[in-house]
């Protein structure tokens, strides 16, 4: 049987799960559920995830939705040795990771709202500049988290970092580059991007997303940006 991920590369949450799988060294197969074609709404897929959301995971008899719950499950089930720090079991350390996973929902929602992704892709709208201040509160929050530690939930890389960086980098779609007020965050983004599995999971989907987004915005084709 093995582990099967129902995946769509343009979903940052789906990629965060992929990063978790890869970091853990779990072998898995992928089935692409193309959200652009509405494949998440088929009866067949709804048997896997009744909410019709991507990603979902099947492992033996278990069908699981909710990306963060999937990442926690994978760690609880498969982490061994040095991989255990991805989702530590000491209650105090784990609490920080869980807290940042939930806070990550606020960060992701805020960025998605600012970029107005559905509006841009499907309704010919623009990003909502009036929401930029909210995005900056998120960046400041993360900057404060990184005070005295290398990763957002502590001294080690955890799944909370995956779930923060993937939505955060959606900001590259509008070439947001104002990280000077957030030096620790900027350094952390570079650390995340230099993970050896970062590019293979994120690079191509991020490029595709940016191209599609910019085409709709009638901007020049996606240009390479870095930090």
């Amino acid at each position: 049987m093995g582990v099967k991920l129902y995946h769509f590369g343009l979903s940052p949450f789906s990629r965060a799960v992929q990063m978790t799988l890869t970091a853990l060294g779990v072998k898995y197969s992928i089935e692409t559920i193309d959200l652009m074609k509405g494949e998440q709404r088929t009866d067949e897929y709804k048997k896997i995830n009744p909410r019709g959301k991507v990603p979902a995971l099947v492992d033996g008899k278990l069908s699981l939705g909710e990306s963060r719950a999937i990442a926690c499950y994978l760690c609880n089930k498969y982490a061994s040795g040095s991989k255990k720090t991805l989702y530590p079991s000491a209650p105090e350390l784990r609490a920080k990771v869980d807290m940042l996973l939930y806070v990550g929902e606020w960060i992701a929602d805020t960025i998605v709202e600012y970029l107005n992704i559905a509006g841009v892709l499907f309704r010919g709208e623009k990003p909502k500049d009036e929401k930029l201040a909210d995005v900056k509160s998120c960046l400041q929050y993360l900057e404060d988290c990184l005070k005295g530690q290398n990763y957002i939930a502590g001294d080690n890389l955890t799944i909370a970092d995956f779930f923060a960086v993937c939505p955060l980098l959606l900001l590259e779609n509008v070439d947001f580059n104002d990280y000077d007020p957030y030096p620790k965050l900027k350094k952390w983004i570079n650390t995340m991007k230099s993970l050896k599995y970062f590019d293979e999971i994120n690079k191509e989907p991020m490029k595709m997303f940016k191209a599609a987004f910019n085409e709709k915005l009638n901007l020049p084709a996606a240009k390479q940006t870095g930090f």
Binding site: P50, A69, K77, E92, A95, M99, Y102, V103
Partner: protein, 224 residues
């Protein structure tokens, strides 16, 4: 040292944490943070939770926010043989509880942001989105479907996922929502949660004041 809970009983997720503490049989000190008078924006509280949200928990050096993370922490740290089923440790079972906790955030958005809009009614002169009930009904149907096969949210026994889902659904009382009986499995489950011996202490009458204010503002605006 004692656990300190910063909370306002108006907050549904705050009440879920309160029920978690009771279900675990833990002693704690309650510090009230009145949301209506914006005590959550005071510098003392922002030191506990920079996001200014209740509930928050302090346990010695640990300052913790996010209600669901708090409930998980309390179980991970303090559950005993008798209470560990509230948040089971077998990965497959725990995964379902986590899934329901995370999808609870979706239900909350449908109910609070998409329909009741309490904050916008109280502070920004708006009305609830009365017409926008599709998302609410979809959430209730999702729960009812789950509860067809399971007595509780995550299987055949009570978990913290139930304590969170319940306060979210019951917040619909703010608008005297009366469609619960259209979802018989969900209704039966609600009755079970409301029969828990700590339920009344944590929940009864806690939204009355804010509900009165909310409904009065709505009436006033509808007259205009």
């Amino acid at each position: 040292m004692v656990l300190v809970l910063y909370n306002d009983p108006v907050s549904p997720s705050g009440r879920s944490v309160h029920m978690t503490l009771r279900a675990l049989g833990l002693d704690f000190e309650w510090k009230n943070v009145n949301l209506i008078s914006s005590e959550n924006r005071l510098p003392e509280f922002l030191k506990i939770n920079p996001r200014g949200k209740v509930p928050a928990l302090v346990d010695e050096d640990l300052k913790l926010a996010e209600s669901r993370a708090i409930a998980c922490y309390l179980c991970n740290k303090y559950a005993t043989e008798g209470t560990k089923s509230l948040y089971p440790s077998e990965p497959e079972k725990r995964a379902i509880v986590d899934q329901m906790l995370y999808s609870g955030e979706w239900m909350w958005e449908e109910i609070y942001i998409g329909y009741l809009r309490v904050r916008w009614v109280l502070y920004y002169g708006e009305l609830p989105w009365f017409h926008n009930t599709d998302g609410v009904r979809e959430a209730l149907k999702y729960l009812d479907d789950r509860l067809k096969e399971n007595a509780y949210m995550a299987g055949n026994h009570l978990t913290i996922a139930d304590l969170f889902a319940h306060t979210t659904i019951r917040f619909l009382d703010m608008l005297d929502f009366d469609e619960y009986s259209n979802y018989p499995h969900m209704k039966a489950w609600m009755d079970k949660i409301e029969a828990l011996d700590y339920y009344d202490e944590c929940n009864n009458g806690k939204i009355d004041k804010v509900k009165e204010k909310y409904q009065a503002l709505i009436k006033e605006r509808q007259k205009q």
